[in-house]
């Protein structure tokens, strides 16, 4: 009886420990989760402003604009239904160009624009990132 009781206590402690660590794990996952948004979802205001998010779509033709003498660049990202302005300071990836897919990470501003802290371009010219494809599908549905 004694041994059985001890075993129950042991299992209880291990189980409780496991539950607590799973709770922490879930919290850590959610805090580090970067939600993916298409421009339409950004315009609809689905995400709280204080969260870092990923947005993706196509870079609008002839929308790239540089601030002279600085590393800051502005461009428009579209899912063909909605378009949002993006601002980024830094070196751009090789495959970044107008008319092509792009994924950026950063924060949505109160005026609906987006300030990116990193810009990723798709991997090669024959392949569209699934994220960009999803954006276009969302845009398609919104039109």
């Amino acid at each position: 009886m004694q041994a059985r009781k001890q075993r129950m206590v042991f299992i209880g402690i291990v189980g409780a420990g496991l539950l607590v660590s799973l709770g922490f794990l879930y919290k850590a996952l959610n805090e580090n989760a970067l939600y993916y948004q298409s421009p339409t979802q950004v315009v609809e205001g689905e995400m709280p402003l204080d969260r870092r998010v990923r947005i993706g779509g196509l870079v609008v033709e002839e929308s790239i604009e540089r601030i002279p003498g600085s590393m800051t660049i502005r461009f428009l990202v579209t899912d063909l239904a909605n378009t949002i302005p993006v601002e980024y300071t830094g070196v751009l990836p090789d495959l970044f160009s107008e008319g092509h897919g792009v994924v950026t990470q950063g924060h949505i501003q109160e005026d609906g624009s987006f300030v990116a802290d990193s810009v990723l371009a798709k991997h090669d010219e024959t392949y569209m990132s699934p994220e960009v494809a999803e954006s276009l599908a969302i845009g398609e549905a919104a039109r």
Binding site: E31, Y35, Y36, M71, V91, H123, D124, E131, E134
Partner: protein, 657 residues
């Protein structure tokens, strides 16, 4: 004609693999020696036909045969010959064929290296490898045939992805695949042992060199990939917790745990169930990794050309192979008996801790990698898990592991007096702690808690790996270390150097992006950098804009660096070729961004202290593994092995594993 022969050879290889799977396993089950002895010839024949297919595909690349769809998609007549060899595995279909070739090569090596083992056992090992071969070959042929024709033939190919036109990229995939696929060998040994019902110390001794061998290649492959990302892809980053990086890293972690668990099984006859489970898990994670990369379910720089049917096929393969092994384990596990016990302070305890921590780290990384999939599948939205999560869940189990590693290396089997361990290591511990506090302050002028912990752990592991070899060196009467012991100390020294490099470079890396014009001078981390000019150069299949930069320290020229921006003629994307001045204690890295108008360029300069220690650590680790895998006791044949264990035991007791 030749491609059809290659295709045909691949079909024949499947039948040979079937033969290699069924006959030896059936023979072992019914005690038919005449069936079992066919295992080796079947494995050899399978290898020959896979090799024929591979050579046929390589030939198509060398001869610019653009009537093959795969060649047309991944090569070009202007591609330099060296890269034509590498282009064979530059895409999905060819890299699967390479997978098959590697598996066939491992099978061949195991078939001929296992001649000293009982026939019923080695036949089962070869049979299990045959089952895996059938699965992968079928997958290649049914969903990803590299010999598909393109009619009418293309005039020229669309070229190999410029990112892959790089020397490190030539070596990275084969090396990684050898390691990845090599995890099939301990898996086959484990399943064969479950089938035989004989899971003893001999089994562990047979399995270990193969496991360590695969691990050495996996280590080298991951390090090469990381190095490639560092200078070619990542603008100076060396690890991104990209799902595909995780896919190769998880089998590595499991393989590391397996090597250590096998050590306990070999020396002490315990941890048997655990070792078998780790062997199954390591290979399952290799297959899962293949699934993640090939199915396109993950968003990743590596996830090229993906297709849902491929993913489904690999998932079925994974379920059949791993699920089958686990069911077998469930039936047979009760037969596995421990042959002895151990006390709290003993090498067994430390190795158990090593295993638990490595498994926890793997499990957490697995959760972080798969979480976006579940989240998306539940319709809760598309997300990705950021680097901070992985850094945290990896470092939390790894830092205690580093501390325990130093202790474990100096602990003997079964039991040890804690006082003796303390007396032995207290000065090293104190030295590591002082160095960890003082060194960042003196060299970099600042520090943080995390830096002290990281640097301290690294120096602790480094010193505790060095003390035994050094003290034996100065004591002429001491017994010489065996090759396996050298291997252990070296591999752990590599771990120590790696931790030091990773901690320092993460804490004190300086990164600057800047808009500059020709003639500009500026300072980064005490170096003066001058932008001297731009010119245009022609490469074999690209045109490059080359920047000329001088790097000076205290007015003296340190290096002239010429980073490039290349435009490949076929796939007209720009490619950044960064240049580095590599030193033992620091790298200076310059990459050209893009032209900003009126002569200005954006330029990224990075100062990376101690990053060389990271690569050196990996090389030392792999070299240590190489020594351990080629220890004399693995080269002994059955007949020579009858010498009593106790004789070797006394000296080997100290530090072999």
């Amino acid at each position: 004609m030749i491609p059809e022969l290659g295709h045909f050879a691949l079909v024949l290889a499947i039948f040979l693999a079937l033969y290699q799977a069924i006959l030896p396993l059936a023979g072992a089950a019914w005690g038919r020696n005449d069936w079992m002895i066919l295992a080796r010839p079947a494995a050899t024949a399978q290898f020959i036909f896979v090799a024929i297919a591979y050579v046929a595909l390589t030939r198509a690349f060398l001869l610019d045969d653009f009537s093959l769809l795969y060649v047309a998609q991944n090569s070009n007549s202007e591609l330099p010959v060296g890269y034509k060899f590498a282009a064979v595995w530059g895409g999905h279909e060819g890299s699967l064929l390479l997978w098959c070739l590697m598996l066939a090569t491992w099978t061949l090596a195991v078939a001929w290296g296992s001649r000293g083992q009982p026939l019923a056992f080695s036949s089962r090992v070869i049979g299990v490898l045959g089952i895996v071969s059938v699965g992968v070959l079928l997958f290649t042929l049914l969903t990803s045939n590299p010999f598909d024709r393109l009619l009418p033939a293309a005039v020229d190919g669309v070229d190999l992805n410029p990112l892959l036109q790089d020397p490190a990229m030539v070596a990275h995939p084969p090396m990684l695949y050898i390691g990845y696929v090599g995890m099939a060998v301990p898996f086959a040994f484990a399943v064969a042992a479950l089938l035989t019902g004989r899971l003893d110390r001999d089994w562990a001794r047979w399995t270990r060199p193969w496991t360590i061998g695969a691990w050495v290649f996996l280590t080298g492959g991951i390090a090469l990939g990381s190095w490639w990302a560092y200078y070619e892809l990542g603008w100076g980053g060396w690890w991104f917790w990209d799902p595909v990086e995780n896919a190769s890293f998880m089998p590595w972690l499991m393989g590391t745990a397996l090597i250590h668990s096998l050590a306990v099984t070999e020396r002490r006859g315990i941890f048997k169930s655990w070792t078998v489970l780790l062997a199954i898990a390591a290979f399952s994670l290799s297959l899962l990794g293949t699934f993640l990369v090939r199915s396109g379910v993950l968003i990743s720089v590596h996830a090229f050309a993906s297709d849902p049917t491929r993913g489904l096929f690999i998932l079925m393969l994974l379920l059949l192979i791993s699920g089958g092994a686990l069911v077998l384990y469930a039936f047979r596990a009760s037969n596995l008996e421990a042959e002895g016990g151990f006390r709290l302070v003993s090498r067994e305890t430390f190795l158990l801790a090593n295993n638990l921590l490595l498994v926890i780290a793997t499990f957490l990384i697995l959760i972080g990698t798969l979480y976006p999939l579940f989240h998306d599948a539940m319709g809760a939205g598309n997300l990705s898990v950021g680097e901070p999560f992985f850094n945290a869940v990896f470092l939390i189990p790894m830092l205690p592991l580093a501390v325990l590693l130093g202790l474990g290396m100096h602990t003997v089997w079964q039991k040890m007096e804690p006082g003796a361990l303390f007396a032995r290591l207290r000065w090293i511990g104190a030295a590591a702690l002082i160095a960890a506090i003082v060194y960042p302050l003196i060299v970099f002028g600042s520090t943080s808690v995390l830096t002290v912990i990281g640097v301290g752990a690294g120096i602790w592991v480094t010193l505790s790996s060095l003390i035994e070899p050094i003290s034996r060196w100065f004591n002429s009467r001491a017994v010489r270390l065996t090759r396996a012991q050298w291997g252990m100390f070296l591999a752990h020294l590599g771990v120590g150097l790696f931790i030091v490099g990773a901690s320092v470079t993460s804490a004190f890396n300086i990164e600057t992006d800047r808009a500059v014009r020709i003639g500009d001078r500026w300072e980064v981390a005490g170096f003066e950098i001058e932008f001297r000019g731009m010119r245009t150069e022609e490469g074999p299949n690209y045109v490059a804009e080359v920047g000329e930069f001088d790097l000076r320290s205290n007015g003296e020229l340190v290096a002239s660096l010429r980073p490039e921006k290349r435009i490949y003629r076929v796939q007209t994307n720009p490619m950044t070729e960064a240049r580095m001045d590599i030193g033992l204690f620091r790298d200076v890295f310059i990459a050209l961004g893009e032209p900003l108008g009126d002569g200005a360029w954006s330029v990224r300069v990075q100062y990376k202290p101690m990053i060389s220690f990271l690569w050196i650590g990996c090389i030392v680790m792999a070299f240590g593994g190489l020594l351990a895998a080629t220890d004399q006791r693995y080269r002994r044949t059955v007949r020579q092995r009858v010498e009593p264990r106790t004789k070797v035991g006394v000296t080997a007791e100290q530090g072999s594993h």
